[in-house]
Subunit: 477 residues, 2 copies
């Protein structure tokens, strides 16, 4: 004891800064260690987490799931029609983004998109009748995720829409997405005016057949090398797809021109793609979905295989908890708004496009896309910091997707729900912001985070599945 | 004095490290300042430099020249034929890269390219007869730079070759370049086999007319925004043109498909461009040439308006010294060689493509293209350090070309020959390496530096032009 006091005291303060402040005021020099209780202080989740960390079954399951994710080789097989391609798709079904939601609950842009899809299908003659039909209960609504598909923003896919067919050549599973309509007034932001419906029909009648012919001539198109190249060209393939769209065009155009397909249709299709820097987004999403579905369904795995938002609720799925969604209210996105718009006009976060972050792209790969942070007011250093932070909650780095700004190390990939709880670091998501009223469209873009609550639920459920039940003493009331 | 010694002595050592080492051995703690005599110790150049630094006439001239460089707006006007477009081009003239050189002096790849051009023009029936013709003195050889043109590697342009026509919309001056043949066996590396000649003929007969039709449909194509975008996508538009070539294709294809030109020709032209990630290089070079020519000819200006190599000698021109070339032996490029090749197989540095570095691109913009340093064994940090170093020898930063990795500051641009001498920092150049024998082609790529000797001569000549003559006492013997 004498020695201890002779050598002087050093104080380490863990957690609350205010304790350290008091010591400073008293003349001490404490070392402050930032720390907050795991799981945001949720005792039941914290207890479950403690059981699951280093749990041999979870570790093994995650190795299996992560290996399948890394091994996946998404390949564009062609373009089909939703009704014929999507597993479980029905004739009077409309798919939407995010976890399940009833018509009455849907936000404005999603209802607008559903009305547009009804008009597109010819099930109703005008928007008022389409709304009545949607309310009437004869149309089945389901998450695109339940039918192996993903769609950006409202994510609406109806039976006769064309869909990308992407196959994981390593695992054989298929994933699907609708086709990108471009910017401005578009269905995915809830617009359903005649020009929107007309464009959708043109996409089915001209764009899809022209691209089908080109793809048939080209043969299977591997998406992983294309995405890897785009990452070296400033895309994170969620909010920025300029390079990927150009690279896709460069691959498809020679095949299109030698396909023998109608020259006028090819010219119009190529012009449409060349004018849309987001065209690749839906392919990026289908690729990510196919990689993550390859890792889905491994009992015991805490790997996050889907993060998605329906404009009301944010949902998360784990590999080890099957089809279950863990939901929390969708955050309102902070970001930069187009002139004359602000947060009061914004719909809460919406869309399946956060499948890119789930796969280690988008916000997780932001280091390679400084233009994104610049757009929302940050610096390239912020972008690198964001990517670096995501390393704390992921199972590894995907060397197939090297980031030049990180000295060519791979993107942090494979979100481990346990690590999210343990560190309270929430997955970062780059996203567009939709107006809360149908049809106005995009009003900004920004960066948001997945809600902690989804992960606390997920970890408790996973613990329960592998036989770890929370003692009654700490169970929530 | 007493105070001085009581306070202890601190030693600052400027220059030679070995002096500081001796002090350290004697127990001292010197502060070492790295410094070498300006102009590499050349007394005449050092004297001239001392007169020119902060010289009001030079400062004013540089402001004028640099403003013209920054204001330049290179626009693709179309494609023409060298004989008809290039000022001063003659019927029996062959242009080459770099400063003037006689046939007998030319390195292997340049002689090979000249022989190829003679065969292409139909002036001789076979390579042996073409060689005799080249030796015979009836063909005029001239630097492409003397005819407002630039060409990569051998830079050979003969009268009936198609050329890009680029106009600086701000200044009205025009610059030209030949069209890129792709990789493998190509004229610019000295290959002249029948397939090489056949491709050149196809480029004149199919590619150029198809692109002309597309450009006519598209209208004038501004190159500065396209280059700016490519810089944000990992190109430095010298050794890496993957993004720029894709962006160019994306702009040109819709116009080509709506031009009404023969569909087969369009398909073949588009396929050729889509298969060549270097296609944009020659446009990048013509753009840089047009920007620098806008700044050329300002009396008193020490701005470097051309750096170029003929495979034997490296040449530099200043804005304020007119048509004069300041030459030194061309360096052998250190870099990474393709398997089975090494420095012993390499031709010395060759080509007009260092016009890109002269304009603040290429090696000067390397921070944005970490893939380049990775290719030659460096890291992204090395790339950033290279760009940062070039700030010491340039007049400013070109905000039209923002570099994401440098927090969106502009490329260092406008090499000031005075600053090169004052700092002994030599301009950095990214370049391909040609085999020293004709026709073998590219055997590697690397990073090199412009020789100091060119700048010492240039500064002495500029000083003399503005009436500053070196005193006899320090004039070289």
């Amino acid at each position: 004891m004498n020695t201890l006091f002779r050598e002087g005291q050093r104080i380490i303060n863990v957690g609350l800064q205010s304790f350290a402040d008091s010591i400073v005021q008293a003349g001490g020099k404490p070392v402050q260690v930032d720390w907050t209780p795991p799981a945001g202080g949720n005792r039941a989740a914290g207890w479950s987490l403690a059981q699951l960390l280093n749990h041999p079954e979870v570790e093994r399951a995650n190795e299996t799931a992560y290996a399948a994710f890394l091994a996946a080789q998404p390949v564009v097989m062609g373009i089909g029609v939703a009704r014929r391609q999507l597993p479980g798709m029905q004739d009077r079904m409309i798919l939407h983004a995010g976890p399940p939601i009833a018509w009455q609950e849907m936000c404005g842009p999603m209802q607008g998109a559903v009305i547009g899809a009804i008009l597109y299908e010819g099930w109703a003659a005008d928007a008022a009748k389409a709304r009545l039909l949607a309310e009437g209960g004869t149309i089945a609504f389901a998450p695109a995720h339940h039918h192996a598909a993903v769609g950006p923003m409202a994510g609406v896919i109806s039976p006769s829409m064309p869909v990308w067919v992407v196959e994981n050549a390593a695992g054989g599973n298929r994933a699907y997405s609708n086709m990108n309509e471009g910017l401005g007034k578009v269905l995915r932001f809830g617009a359903n005016s005649p020009d929107v419906i007309k464009r959708l029909r043109w996409m089915a009648d001209v764009l899809a057949p022209a691209l089908s012919a080109a793809l048939a001539k080209l043969g299977p198109l591997e998406l992983k090398p294309l995405i890897a190249q785009a990452l070296q060209m400033g895309d994170e393939v969620h909010n920025r797809n300029a390079a990927a769209s150009s690279l896709f065009l460069k691959r498809i155009v020679p095949a299109a021109l030698h396909s023998g397909f109608d020259a006028g249709a090819i010219a119009d299709a190529v012009t449409f793609i060349a004018g849309n820097d987001h065209f690749f987004l839906n392919l990026s999403m289908a690729a990510c979905k196919s990689m993550l579905d390859a890792a889905h369904g491994v009992p015991g795995s805490s790997l996050v295989t889907a993060m998605s938002r329906n404009g009301v609720r944010f949902g998360v799925r784990l590999s080890g908890t099957g089809g279950q969604w863990f939901e929390a209210p969708s955050p309102v996105v902070g970001g930069l708004f187009f002139p004359s718009y602000g947060p009061e006009h914004a719909a809460p976060d919406m869309g399946d496009s956060s499948i890119t972050e789930t796969a280690g792209l988008g916000g997780f790969a932001m280091a390679t896309a400084p233009a994104i942070v610049q757009f929302v007011g940050g610096t390239p250093q912020d972008a690198i910091a964001n990517t670096r932070e995501m390393r704390h909650i992921t199972l590894g780095r995907n060397s197939a997707f090297a980031l030049p700004a990180m000295n060519f190390t791979g993107t942090p990939a494979g979100i481990d729900a346990r690590r999210v709880l343990d560190t309270n670091i929430l997955p970062i998501i780059n996203t567009g912001i939709a107006h809360k009223e149908a049809g106005v469209g995009q009003i900004g873009a920004g960066i948001t985070r997945a809600p902690l609550e989804c992960f606390t639920q997920a970890v408790i459920a996973l613990a329960s599945r592998i036989g770890v039940s929370v003692p009654a003493s700490i169970r929530p009331a």
